[in-house]
């Protein structure tokens, strides 16, 4: 059982590093707001970052449960299909996709 001071030190480290990583770029960007590079990156980045998050979380799901690879791919297809079919209702699409995955994983 780790000591309480050790756990408090862990909490301090986690807070300090995470907050700094989030805050420092804003301070640095304030001086770069007029830069053409920053403007272009801010239009180009969001869709790519979201796509990367989607792929890495899918990979995480598959890595945690390799036998469920097909289930995960089917669930992604169900999510995309639901989203295109029911015109952008995020909660509905996410619920349908998740339900498909949970049912497939627990049933097979």
């Amino acid at each position: 059982m780790p000591s309480t001071p050790y756990l408090l030190a862990v909490l301090g480290i986690v807070f300090g590093i995470t907050f700094a990583l989030r805050a420092v770029p804003f301070a640095a960007l304030r001086t770069l707001r007029t830069s053409a590079t920053v403007r272009r990156l801010s239009t180009w980045m969001p869709v790519g970052i979201l796509a990367i998050l989607a792929v890495t979380t899918l990979h995480g799901t598959i890595a945690a449960e390799p036998r469920a690879t097909l289930h995960a791919l089917l669930a992604v297809a169900a999510t995309v299909g639901a989203h295109l079919a029911f015109s952008r209702r995020t909660i509905l699409s996410v619920s349908i996709g998740t339900t498909v995955y949970v049912v497939l994983v627990n049933a097979f």
Binding site: R39, T43, I49, H59, A68, V76
Partner: protein, 273 residues
């Protein structure tokens, strides 16, 4: 491209503090009228993110109990980091009393991706310094993702903050629920963590639909494929690093091509004259 630049300039003008103060509220018709409606919109934004956050929070609480750590570590970690996946890693490391330096390095590598969110996170809509600090502290993946998919005209400080506070409530609440379930139940329903993947998939579709950035998607696809092959353990970190490097290269190319075109035109005009 010229249109994009013009839009940005218009947005900057609109967001400029002085200008905003002198604009009567009824002019911004596309915004929800009241603070209450904006807050409600923010809470609604949080629901889809909550589907992914709540199960992850429960998993964190369960893990804390199973690792033999004191129960208060779950809410304390959720509040100190509010960063999702890294907390699950830290619980495992703390349980085996890993040296603090190793924990610091892990947090640095896993959370490094947040550095890139500053480019497009709408922090400029928040004015109050304390609220600004909270918005930065609570800039989790889901908060970034949900806002990246929102049109600029629909963004507001109450909406953003309400969304972030709601997410933190799900996260801390999920952790406490996980602690409570810890010894009583065999475990949560398997597979709920897929909600995160579904959420990011849907938001990527939305972002693509509002901004047809096919080249960005292709570059992101190449980055994540390379990252999964080369460094599967820290795929997200590597993918973002490669993606930014590719975008910078694309920016340099576009700049050079524009300069080349301009030079060509000048040369053509000179030849014509």
């Amino acid at each position: 491209m010229a249109g994009n630049v013009r839009n940005h300039m218009a947005r900057d003008l609109r967001d400029h503090e002085e200008v905003r103060h002198h604009v009567p509220p009824q002019v911004t018709t596309s915004l929800p009228a009241t603070r209450r409606q904006q807050t409600a919109a923010g809470v609604r934004d949080s629901f889809s993110a909550g589907l992914g956050i709540l199960p992850l929070g429960i998993a964190l609480g369960l893990l804390v109990v199973q690792a033999g750590l004191p129960w208060w570590l779950a809410p304390a970690l959720s509040l100190s980091a509010f960063a999702g996946s890294v907390e699950l890693l830290v619980v495992g490391m703390a349980a085996t009393v890993t040296p603090l330096g190793a924990i610091a390095l892990t947090v640095l590598v896993v959370n490094f991706r947040h550095v890139f969110y500053a480019f497009s996170f709408p922090l400029h809509v928040v004015r109050h310094p304390l609220a600004k600090a909270y918005a930065v502290y609570a800039m989790i993946d889901e908060a970034y993702a949900v806002n990246a998919a929102l049109p600029e005209a629909e963004r507001s400080a109450p909406r953003l903050l309400a969304m972030q506070i709601a997410c933190e409530v799900y996260w801390v609440g999920g952790g406490l629920a996980g602690v409570a379930l810890g010894t009583a139940l065999p475990g949560p329903l398997e597979g709920l963590e897929f909600a995160l993947c579904a959420l990011f998939t849907v938001l990527a579709l939305d972002a693509f639909r509002s901004r047809r950035e096919l080249s960005s998607v292709l570059l992101a696809g190449a980055s994540v494929a390379a990252a999964l092959v080369l460094t599967p353990e820290i795929a997200l970190f590597t993918a973002l690093l490669v993606f930014v490097a590719l975008l910078l290269a694309r920016h340099l190319l576009a700049t050079r091509r524009a300069a080349g075109d301009a030079a060509g035109e000048t040369a053509g005009e000179a030849a014509g004259a």
